[in-house]
């Protein structure tokens, strides 16, 4: 029951972020940061519906050196089930270039491998494009941080 409640709260939060940007509320950087948070929340909970609204249909996503499409991404989330990874954003900076926004930052990923937690740190660049007043994620990639 608690899990269902949390899920509902998160889905509502994600939807409100998306709706807020559709109405043009706040600065572009604020809208982008909200979407980044919504993406992390949705991914941690395998919320494909929310991700479908955040990801552009032509999304290019580089994951562990592999190029994956939006469809690949969503199907991985679906199959991740209870083994979903936890993403903790650490630093994030937004650069706006007209209808393009670049987000640079680092995040810590806590995944499960052979029953053990596996923390990894990444540096990422996400690219958002404003399409008819709506910011959509068009590209994302991350490089593992060398120790």
């Amino acid at each position: 029951m608690r899990a269902t409640g949390w899920s509902l709260i998160l889905v509502c939060a994600v939807l409100s972020f998306v709706q807020a940007q559709e109405k043009g509320e706040g600065s572009p950087a604020t809208a982008i940061l909200a979407l980044e948070h919504a993406w992390s929340d949705a991914e941690a909970r395998n919320d494909n519906r929310a991700l479908d609204r955040i990801f552009d249909n032509a999304l290019v996503y580089i994951e562990d050196g592999r190029l994956v499409t939006k469809g690949d991404c969503l199907s991985r989330m679906r199959s991740a089930g209870s083994h979903a990874r936890q993403i903790v954003a650490e630093t994030t900076t937004v650069h706006i270039f007209g209808s393009t926004a670049i987000v640079v930052g680092t995040y810590r990923e806590i995944g499960l491998q052979d029953g053990k937690t596996l923390p990894r740190e990444w540096r990422f660049i996400d690219t958002w494009a404003n399409k008819n007043g709506v910011w959509m994620l068009v590209a994302a990639g991350a490089a593992p941080l060398s120790k």
């Binding site: 580089i62 007209g98 540096r123 990422f124 660049i125 590209a139 490089a143 941080l145």
Partner: protein, 147 residues
């Protein structure tokens, strides 16, 4: 004048290379040419051409997850520690979203850094924006291809 001529020569020669990958969109072809010009300029340590190709606010995340500004990137390329022998781009694809073009691909680079030879294979995403009629790279991110 010399700088403009240098970039023009690089872009013209790169356009010939990009012609092989020409799509219906001439702007994406132009950006692909600039990608080739970037590689050539990097190999030659041609800082003037790189300065023209890269936006002043560019963010660059390298193979090791190191974040560099444009000034830091140019300093790294021109460093005596780095001897880039060859940079070959494979399977490059460009997608246009209005005044934004995303280029994805795989490159192999060979050289010597800090006295040690290296060969790196990485998948990259570059983001280009159209500013006053000129395409400039605003973000570049590479991820090791390990598979």
């Amino acid at each position: 004048m010399r700088r403009a001529a240098s970039v023009a020569i690089l872009v013209c020669s790169a356009l010939l290379l990009a012609a092989a990958q020409e799509s219906a969109d001439s702007e994406t072809t132009r950006v692909l040419a600039l990608e080739h010009a970037w590689n050539q300029a990097t190999e030659r340590k041609d800082i003037k051409s790189l300065d023209a190709i890269l936006d002043n606010s560019m963010v660059y995340v390298d193979y090791y997850g190191i974040l560099r500004t444009k000034a830091e990137y140019l300093a790294w390329v021109s460093s005596a520690n780095l001897h880039l022998q060859q940079e070959v781009t494979q399977s490059m694809t460009a997608r246009r979203f209005g005044s934004t073009v995303m280029v994805t691909g795989v490159y192999v680079t060979k050289g010597v850094e800090g006295g040690k030879p290296y060969v790196r294979r990485a998948r990259f995403v570059d983001t280009w924006t159209l500013k006053a009629g000129t395409w400039q790279c605003v973000a570049s991110q590479s991820t090791p291809v390990l598979h």
